[in-house]
């Protein structure tokens, strides 16, 4: 575990509601190693974005971390005071949001936003910061960066804006980037470009990435490891190849099967009945049990812990007894 850059331990995020508290993240644990790209998949509402927000400390009140620990290297960061956390953000952990159209401040130029970010984290004078900004834009593949740096966000197309966003995230040379669905708002064709940029930057800078998405294609293409989330819990974590080829958790299996394939023609897709439970109605035991076609009696009562199997980690009673 010592080699992990980010280590999340039993993270619980709660939203106080009328009478109860909603547990949006329930005992989430995972690690990211330096330079590694960890994918986070799961259906809408599974808690992917919340995990990212919790790590960088941007949970929106009344949401809060109820228990658990988040370690960045040797530093525990889930209880840092605001100012320390702020210094961390952008410098050690950066975040990219889904919508490039709304992520940039519309009334500041790209230069304004980049230079400010750079100077917040690096001791550079205006000129040097600007040079660095141009270099960053260059790196993420903005043509004629020098000319376009003084443009406003609305003068860029969607794909270009997402590149700017990536440049901004990279400005403080962070060790970890949390990318929350960086390509969902973009076209398939542009998607591939952005994923490429992201991958390249990580390799070049040795940055670790937590890539949140619900697109298995993106996961398969970009990630080293994948965590599958279901109803605020991690259902399975493992090597991307393992998960794609040999999913263990029945949910993952269903998920993989429900994606139409272009290589084979099937008449009916594999279909998981029902839908993910709402946070206020998570069934006892395994959250997936009402939809599971391999349900065991105990699934309805006892919650499975994440156990280690030879192919990764899975939270499912089917694999109980597998070697830890």
């Amino acid at each position: 575990m010592t080699d992990a850059l980010l280590s999340v331990r039993d993270l619980v995020v709660e939203f106080p509601k009328r009478k109860t508290r909603l547990t949006a993240l329930d005992q989430v644990s995972f690690d990211i190693r330096p330079g590694e790209i960890l994918g986070m998949v799961g259906e809408s509402g599974a808690g992917k974005s919340l995990t990212g927000a919790a790590i960088i400390g941007l949970l929106e009140p009344p949401g809060h971390i109820a228990s658990g620990e988040i370690w960045l290297g040797d530093q525990r960061i889930d209880q840092l005071p605001y100012e320390q956390l702020r210094r961390l953000r952008g410098k050690r952990i950066a975040m990219i949001f889904q919508d490039p159209l709304t992520s940039l401040n519309p009334i500041l130029t790209i230069a304004d936003q980049l230079v400010e970010t750079i100077q917040t984290h690096l001791p550079l004078n205006d000129k040097a910061a600007r040079a660095r900004a141009i270099q960053l834009l260059d790196e993420v593949g903005i043509p004629a960066a020098e000319k376009r740096i003084d443009d406003y966000p609305h003068q860029f197309s969607g794909g270009m804006r997402q590149r700017v966003v990536i440049a901004l995230a990279l400005a403080g040379e962070p060790e970890l980037i949390i990318a929350d669905e960086p390509t969902t708002a973009l076209d398939v064709s542009v998607q591939a470009q952005i994923i490429d940029v992201l991958k390249r930057m990580c390799h070049e800078h040795g940055t670790a990435v937590m890539l949140v998405t619900h697109d298995m294609g993106v996961i398969a293409e970009a990630c080293d490891r994948v965590a599958v989330m279901y109803a605020g819990r991690i259902a399975e974590i493992g090597d991307v190849r393992q998960i794609v080829k040999h999913p263990q958790h029945p949910y993952t299996q269903g998920l993989m099967g429900s994606i139409p394939s272009i290589t084979q023609q099937v008449d009916r897709l594999v279909q998981i009945p029902g839908s993910m439970p709402r946070l206020d109605a998570i069934p006892s035991g395994c959250a997936f049990n009402p939809r599971c076609n391999q349900r065991l009696p105990r699934c309805t009562q006892d919650r499975p812990d994440l156990i280690t199997t030879d192919q990764g980690h899975v939270a499912c009673w089917l694999y109980e007894g597998a070697t830890p």
Partner: protein
């Protein structure tokens, strides 16, 4: 009214929908005064440009293309939500826009649509039962309230919901369930033809699978014909019998599904196919896509795809390619026509 009884069509291969040279321009000019002062001409956005295709009874025709390529516009043109600038749309041999009275009402009833956003396509203030019953009332398909209720319950049952759900409001349902309600509403008009504009793109894959399966079941049961719009090629491949590829409002290729995937002719089709993420990790290399889709207001000259095309030459820049038919497919590409791109089976033309 009973749902299971359907008019039978004598020839299943009869084209139910024929679209010919359909074009749609939107006036995106600046206000008149600005134009005068800045001496700018009036500007039009060509959303759909000379598109022709036909859909056979009982088949699924899919339209694919990048965002802004005109898919939704075609869908709206077909269901008569907007009016074409030129070209004609024939449904069952009749032109919707030229029919009047009862015939118009009947035609209108026979073409229904399922929208992309299941959250916006249901009126949040209406109960599900009333939503589904709206077409029944509007088209006068029931004679009594009891009949309406029965039909609504039957429909809910058909799409995998419970009859008592009709008392609930849309917000009490998940996205997938709402899309089922939307489908039930479309079905309540007893249509023959369903235009489905990205019906699953707002849904999670597991729910998408449910909806796609449901749509297939309904097609089998009712003999429905689909115009299926999606940007997800793998979904399209799963659903469609025939696929049309749109680029900047023009149809660049129109081919049977298998053929399109196995022998893509147009460079754009190839590019799209190459860009499909390999989620199965079959080891297929994904080719990076070059460039971005140009503005439809000022489309490139000649073949609109030429700036992004590796096969483009001067002819492509200057002249718009004609549509070439081969086998069962049509392609609009100079390079294909001039055989600069090797396409299996095309040489025979």
């Amino acid at each position: 009214m009973s749902l299971s009884v359907r008019q039978e069509y004598p020839d299943m291969k009869q084209p139910l929908l024929q679209v010919q040279n359909l074009s749609c321009h939107f006036d995106v000019s600046k206000p008149w005064l600005n134009r005068v002062i800045e001496s700018e001409p009036q500007r039009f956005l060509t959303a759909v440009d000379q598109v022709s295709f036909s859909v056979n009874q009982g088949e699924t025709f899919a339209l694919v293309g990048e965002s802004g390529s005109g898919k939704s516009t075609i869908a709206k043109l077909i269901v008569d939500l907007i009016h074409p600038s030129s070209g004609e749309i024939r449904f069952d041999g009749k032109i919707l826009r030229e029919t009047r009275g009862e015939a118009f009402k009947t035609l209108r009833r026979r073409i229904q649509m399922i929208f992309q956003d299941p959250f916006a396509s249901l009126n949040p203030r209406w109960r599900v039962g009333d939503i589904i019953a709206e077409p029944i009332h509007a088209f006068g398909l029931a004679t009594s309230q009891a009949q309406v209720t029965r039909t609504v319950e039957e429909l809910l049952d058909k799409v995998g919901l419970a009859g008592r759900d009709r008392h609930k409001y849309p917000h009490e349902f998940s996205g997938g369930q709402r899309q089922r309600i939307a489908i039930a509403r479309a079905l309540s008009a007893q249509p023959d033809f369903l235009v489905c504009d990205e019906p699953t793109s707002a849904l999670d894959v597991s729910v998408q699978a449910q909806i796609l399966n449901l749509m297939r079941d309904l097609q089998d049961e009712f003999g429905l014909t689909y115009l299926f719009i999606s940007h997800d090629l793998s979904v399209v491949k799963h659903m469609a019998d025939r696929i049309g590829v749109l680029y900047l409002g023009s149809m660049v290729e129109d081919a049977p599904s298998e053929q399109l995937f196995s022998q893509p002719a147009h460079p754009y089709t190839r590019m799209l196919l190459d860009a499909i993420p390999d989620h199965e990790m079959s080891g297929r290399r994904r080719k990076p896509v070059t460039g971005e889709i140009p503005s439809p207001i000022n489309p490139p000259s000649g073949c609109t795809f030429h700036p992004r095309c590796e096969y483009a030459d001067t002819l492509c820049k200057e002249q718009r390619p004609a549509v070439v038919t081969h086998n069962d497919s049509q392609v609009a590409c100079w390079a294909v026509e001039q055989a600069r791109i090797p396409v299996k089976g095309l040489q025979s033309v």
